[in-house]
C-alpha cells in the first residue's frame, strides 16, 4: 500500500492518530486511513467534526461486491455510527421469483446497514424529514441530490462524497476539511441568466448541469418553491457535478449577485424558454409512453398534495406512479387529496423510481415519461415532459 501523501500530511489529533494506528481495531483504522488519504489528495489540513451523515448505498446491486464486503467487515467488527445517519431509498422490488434471483440479498444488506446504527428512513430527501441540517452545519453526506439541496437551499456544508466514504464519515463523526466546507470555495463561478416565462425547474437544472459541469452557478432571482429547488438541484447533480448553486435573492448565501460572486466578473450564460421546451419529448413520444413516474427525488408531502390535487376526480388515461418519502406516505394518504389520488388509480409508492424502473419488472421495456430531470438522465428510455404536458396527457386537466 502506498501511503506517501501527495500533499502535506494532515495534522491529526492524538486520538485520531491512535485510531489510524489501530487503537480501535484494524477496521476503524482503515476507516480513518480512508478519510486521511481522501483529505490529503485535496490538501485538507485536518479532520473536522460533522453534525450528521447520510448514506447513499442502500441498494444491493447484485453484480457489485466490494462495497458490501467492506460494510460487512464493519458490522463484524461491531462498529456503530457516531453521528445521526440516514439512508437512501429502497429499490422497491418485491420478491417474485425472477426478483429473488436478482435481489435476494437486499434484506441482508438492509440488516447490515441497520446494524451500524443507521436511522432506517429509506429516503433521499432526508433533509426534509429525518436529518434536517441547519445553516453552517458541516455534513458528511453522500447522495448527490441531498448534498446539493443541503448546501444550496439550507446553507449547510458537504462535499460530494462517495458511497463508503459516507460510512467512514458516519463511524468517525469526522470529515476532512476541504472543498465546499470552506468559505472560499462557496462563491459562484458562473452566472445563469433566465429568459423564461413558464418555469420548468427540472429542465432548467438539467441544462445548467451540462453548462456548469463541476462549477458553482448563480441563477437570476426566481421565486422557486422548495420542491422546485429539490428537483432542479437533483438534475444539476446528474447532468453535471454541481455541489452548490445559488439563486440571487433567494438562497441563504446569495443575498444578491454581488455578494455571491465576490464582485469578480464571471462567465455568463442565458437560458431561454426555447431551451427548456427543447428538452421535452415530442407529442408522439409522449403519447407512446406507457407509464408516468413522479418523484425522483422522492416527493415531499407538500409536493404530492400540489401535484395530486390536479388528479382528484379525474379518470387517468395512463398509469401514474407517485414515489413519496416514506415519512410522508401516511400523512398523504390520510388527506382528501391523497384519497382522491388513490381513487383516481395513482399508485403511491415509497421506493426509488430509478431502481424500480430500471428493469421494468411487470411492464417490460415500455417507455417511461417523467417530469424529473434526474430520472430522465439516469433511466434508460425515460423521456422528459413538463408538468403541463403530463397533466394534459394523463387527463388531469379537462
Amino acid at each position: 500500500m502506498n501511503t506517501t501523501p501527495l500533499h502535506a500530511p494532515m495534522a491529526l489529533t492524538p486520538e485520531q492518530a491512535a485510531i489510524r494506528a489501530g487503537a480501535e481495531g484494524p477496521v476503524m483504522a482503515r476507516c480513518m486511513e480512508t478519510l486521511v488519504r481522501y483529505g490529503e489528495a485535496f490538501g485538507a489540513p485536518r479532520l473536522v467534526p460533522i453534525r450528521s451523515a447520510h448514506l447513499t448505498g442502500s441498494f444491493k446491486i447484485f453484480f457489485y461486491t466490494a462495497y458490501y464486503k467492506l460494510v460487512s467487515e464493519l458490522v463484524e467488527a461491531g462498529i456503530k455510527v457516531k453521528v445521526p445517519t440516514t439512508l437512501n431509498p429502497r429499490p422497491g422490488y418485491d420478491y417474485r421469483p425472477q426478483n429473488r434471483i436478482l435481489f435476494r440479498s437486499q434484506s441482508w444488506h438492509e440488516e447490515q446497514l441497520e446494524a451500524l446504527g443507521v436511522t432506517p428512513n429509506y429516503s433521499c430527501v432526508c433533509y426534509a424529514y429525518d436529518n434536517i441540517p441547519e445553516f453552517g452545519d458541516r455534513l458528511g453526506w453522500a447522495e448527490s441530490s441531498a448534498i446539493i439541496y443541503a448546501n444550496s437551499v439550507i446553507g449547510a456544508r458537504s462535499n460530494r462524497n462517495a458511497i463508503m466514504i459516507d460510512i467512514c464519515h458516519a463511524v468517525t463523526g469526522l470529515a476532512p476539511e476541504f472543498g465546499f466546507l470552506l468559505d472560499e470555495n462557496r462563491k459562484a463561478d458562473l452566472h445563469i441568466r433566465l429568459q423564461i416565462e413558464r418555469m420548468d425547474a427540472a429542465a432548467l437544472g438539467f441544462l445548467i448541469g451540462k453548462i456548469a459541469m463541476d462549477r458553482t452557478p448563480v441563477l437570476d432571482y426566481w421565486p422557486f418553491t422548495p420542491a422546485e429547488l429539490k428537483n432542479m438541484g437533483a438534475a444539476m447533480a446528474s447532468t453535471g457535478g454541481v455541489t452548490l448553486f445559488h439563486v440571487a435573492g433567494l438562497t441563504p448565501e446569495a443575498p444578491d449577485l454581488e455578494a455571491v460572486t465576490g464582485g469578480r466578473p464571471i462567465e455568463t450564460h442565458t437560458i431561454t424558454q426555447a431551451d427548456l421546451d427543447a428538452l421535452k419529448a415530442s407529442r408522439q413520444m409522449q403519447k407512446e409512453s406507457a407509464v408516468i413516474a413522479f418523484g425522483c427525488p422522492q416527493m415531499t408531502l407538500e409536493e404530492a398534495l400540489e401535484v395530486g390535487r390536479h388528479f382528484a376526480g379525474r379518470t387517468l388515461k395512463k398509469p401514474v406512479l407517485f414515489h413519496l418519502v416514506p415519512g410522508a406516505y401516511d400523512a398523504f394518504i390520510e388527506t382528501e387529496t391523497g384519497q382522491a389520488c388513490l381513487d383516481a388509480g395513482i399508485e403511491v409508492l415509497q421506493h426509488c423510481p430509478l431502481a424500480a424502473l430500471s428493469l421494468r419488472i411487470g411492464i417490460g421495456k415500455q417507455q417511461v415519461l417523467t417530469p424529473s430531470g434526474k430520472l430522465h438522465y439516469y433511466l434508460e428510455g425515460a423521456k422528459y415532459a413538463d408538468m403541463a404536458d403530463i397533466l394534459e396527457l394523463t387527463g388531469a386537466v379537462a
Binding site: L6, Y38, A66, G240, S358
Partner: protein
C-alpha cells in the same frame, strides 16, 4: 530509463505531458479519449453491465462513448459528474482489475478519487489518477495512443498509436 520506457521507445514518442499525480501508480495502456465528462453510475449500473464482459462498458445513452468498453484503457476525460455511487463502480472495477488502467482528467473531484482510494486502502489494487488542466489535453492525446506513466513519475509519455 526503465525497461517499460525502453520498450515504448520503439514506437514514436509523440509528447510528454507534465501532470499532477493525485493517486500514485503506473500505467502502460492505450488511450480512450472523450471531451465529455463521465457519469460512471449512469454508465455502468445498467442491466447489460451484469455480463462480466460488459462490466466496464459505457451504457449511458447520453454519452458519446456509449457501448465502448473502458476496461484496460487509459481513460482521458475532463471530469466526473453525477451520482455518489461513482465510488461503488470504481471500487469494484479497480479492485477486480476490470476497470480503466488509468484516469487522466482535467479536474479530479471528490467522487473520482474515492473508489480508487477505497480499493487501495481496503483491498490493495490501485490505478493512477493524474490531472492535466490544460484544454490542449485533448489535442495532445488521441484515442489509441499508448500512454506510459512510470512509478513515481509526474511525466505522462504519449506514443503514437494506430488511429481507431
Amino acid at each position: 530509463m526503465s525497461a517499460l520506457a525502453d520498450t515504448a521507445a520503439a514506437a514514436a514518442l509523440k509528447d510528454i505531458l507534465p501532470v499532477k499525480v493525485v493517486v500514485a501508480g503506473a500505467c502502460d495502456a492505450p488511450a480512450l479519449v472523450t471531451r465529455q465528462p463521465i457519469n460512471f453510475t449512469a454508465a455502468m449500473c445498467k442491466p447489460p453491465n451484469i455480463l462480466p464482459s460488459k462490466r466496464a462498458e459505457v451504457r449511458d445513452a447520453h454519452h458519446e462513448l456509449f457501448r465502448q468498453n473502458v476496461g484496460g484503457r487509459a481513460l482521458v476525460f475532463p471530469a466526473c459528474i453525477g451520482s455518489t455511487h461513482t465510488g461503488l463502480v470504481l471500487l469494484d472495477l479497480v479492485s477486480l482489475g476490470k476497470g480503466p488502467a488509468a484516469l487522466i482528467v482535467q479536474s479530479c473531484d471528490s467522487l473520482l478519487i474515492s473508489g480508487v482510494i477505497l480499493s487501495e486502502v481496503w483491498l490493495g489494487p490501485v490505478i493512477p489518477i493524474v490531472e492535466y488542466p490544460g484544454e490542449d489535453l485533448f489535442d495532445r492525446i488521441g484515442t489509441g495512443d499508448r500512454l506510459v506513466l512510470e512509478p513515481g513519475s509526474d511525466r505522462l509519455h504519449v506514443y503514437s498509436g494506430a488511429p481507431q
